[in-house]
Symmetry: C2
Subunit: 344 residues, 2 copies
């Protein structure tokens, strides 16, 4: 089959790889119907050292079950399923607490001998715990929004949940990428009445307004902080959803959060150290978030997606074929495309 591999910065290739096969009774094989490129894929795309050996890549997909191992129940060939961006048994002590990203028997796509999601098919470890059956056909118009349950919508939702967004909290979302826009949508869905979106790409912030942003702040750094404070009586917002992962975004988050508030981050940190000294302590700011356990949220978010109450799939503004994946990466890196869907 064909699958995507990354060899180095700006070097993504689509190549022939072995067809996936059941290797353990807990496995399933899924033919990928839709996959996509994540903002976090752009970190290695921007900086991975070149090597002769490529790594499989991609961690978001939905598809049709082709085969299941003997220990997998509740799933059968022909089912349309979505996979969260980490596989998990969904039964261990961490999974039971809703932290499937720390599953004792789980892991990430594209690591070790585990397939990446940007290919024609995937061997799914811990299939029963990982895959969620979708009550939809494989030609459904809802596929983009259903695919967003694999990562981007669940990640935005996670940022909002960890920040305890409610009708009583004001919210700043930092970042107008697909996760940031989904965080806006999630905050609105959880009842937030005031959602300030910090972003400077107008087409994206316009979608952010559609998703529920009440204010858009295009300024960055100190100027951006001053603007958010001006909009909030000088205090900042109760919650800040940091959806970028770069250090300046974190600094902005600490600058716009209200005393006693929460910075919830879901952008993978591109820094090792951060400013958590007396300033943060004295203002009593909580830092939370992390790699979103998408699996914990899929069932909860699915009905709203199926009913069309939320349309997170609107973050996909380009679709490419398998062979066009390298150009999809280029388009996202160049900010030509917000988020690229792959139709193998």
């Amino acid at each position: 089959m064909r699958a995507t591999l990354i060899y180095g910065a700006s070097d993504v290739r689509v190549e022939n790889v072995p067809d996936p096969k059941i290797q353990a009774p807990t496995n399933a094989v899924v033919r990928v119907v839709r996959s996509c490129i994540c903002g976090s894929d752009l970190w290695p795309y921007g900086s991975r050292p070149a090597s002769e050996h490529g790594d499989r890549i991609g961690h978001e997909f939905l598809g049709v079950v082709e085969e299941t191992g003997s220990d997998v129940s509740g799933l059968k060939a022909g089912d349309l399923v979505v996979a969260p961006f980490a596989y998990a048994d969904n039964t261990c002590e961490f999974c039971r607490e809703g932290l499937q990203t720390s599953c004792l028997h789980g892991g990430y796509w594209g690591t070790g001998d585990v397939d990446g999601g940007q290919g024609e098919a995937v061997r799914v470890p811990q299939a029963q715990g990982t895959l969620v059956k979708l009550p939809a056909e494989e030609d459904s118009a809802l596929l983009p929004s259903l695919l967003s349950l694999s990562d981007v919508f669940c990640t935005g939702h996670h940022a909002a949940v960890k920040a305890q967004v409610s009708p009583h909290t004001t919210v700043t979302v930092i970042g107008d990428g697909a996760v940031g826009l989904c965080a806006v949508l999630a905050a609105k869905r959880l009842g937030a009445e005031r959602v300030i979106l910090m972003g400077r790409h107008e087409a994206r912030t316009d979608l952010g307004r559609d998703f529920g942003a009440t204010d858009v702040v295009a300024e960055r750094g100190e100027e951006g902080i001053a603007r958010v404070r001006e909009l909030t009586g000088g205090h900042g917002t109760h919650t800040v959803l940091e959806c970028v992962g770069a250090r300046p975004a974190l600094e902005t988050a600490f600058g716009v959060v209200r005393a006693g508030g929460v910075v919830s981050r879901v952008g993978a940190p591109q820094y090792a150290e951060g400013p958590i000294g007396f300033g943060m302590f004295g203002r009593h700011v909580t830092l939370t978030g992390g790699v979103a356990p998408a699996r914990a949220y899929i069932e909860e978010l699915l009905p709203d997606v199926l009913e069309g109450k939320v349309q997170p799939g609107r973050v996909f503004d380009r679709t490419v074929s398998m062979e066009e994946v390298p150009d999809g990466y280029r388009a996202m890196a160049d900010r030509e495309a917000l988020k690229v869907m792959i139709q193998p």
Copy 2:
């Protein structure tokens, strides 16, 4: 009157200062019955640059109201009261949320023209919001525990509250100082069944066991982390109460916290940057805590103190007179004394 001033590292003096007087209708004057020295006073005692001008110091006291301004109701001359370590109007939007340390009209003792607590009397700004009347006499045997409501017990309690300690959470407390021991007591009071105390001073950790610690880990650094993990099936504890404020203590906290857990810090950070990169993010650790809003907790904790259910005052192991305050600092800095009470 006599009061304590700090002039530099290891240079604390007791001097004559003007008697406090009502300066605004919201003020009260309190004659101090008991004050004490805080672990956080040892930071300037260890490092304050020498100067010709001394600063008033001390932020924990209980005493008898001598006079109240015309806007102060609910308090009268003769009342025994305790002051939290920050004054606050207790009515502003932050106070109403229980964050009196961010009061819009509040501040800290010993700053600007505000008296320090280590003196014979104190002018109290925002007296009505700040002071809490104590149903006790000024010769009560409960004075040490009542005084602990000014800071140390409330601070330990705050660490536990922000960490969401409950019967379902395991707890590590880092630091066997007075705050750490009070954090043990608070965690136990909130129902924690497993409380691991990290500390190496046996007299202190013995008191920690009395307060509810189920395990004591004397090792530090990587060894200490390994020991706590060994005690917890390899995973660490759900919550970590960081009661020191030094960077190695924070690093230990991140090392012993379970994935998905909370590090709650109440030791004033002696670092500007901390290790909050991908390690913390990937394990989904929350960092919370801050300057404890003691005022928010006094009424809640007072009944247990009055009934003797908890005895946080046991952290005081030495009492000095006003003139002996400099030696009290020395004794605490030399770790001869755990926490020193002042009887002016």
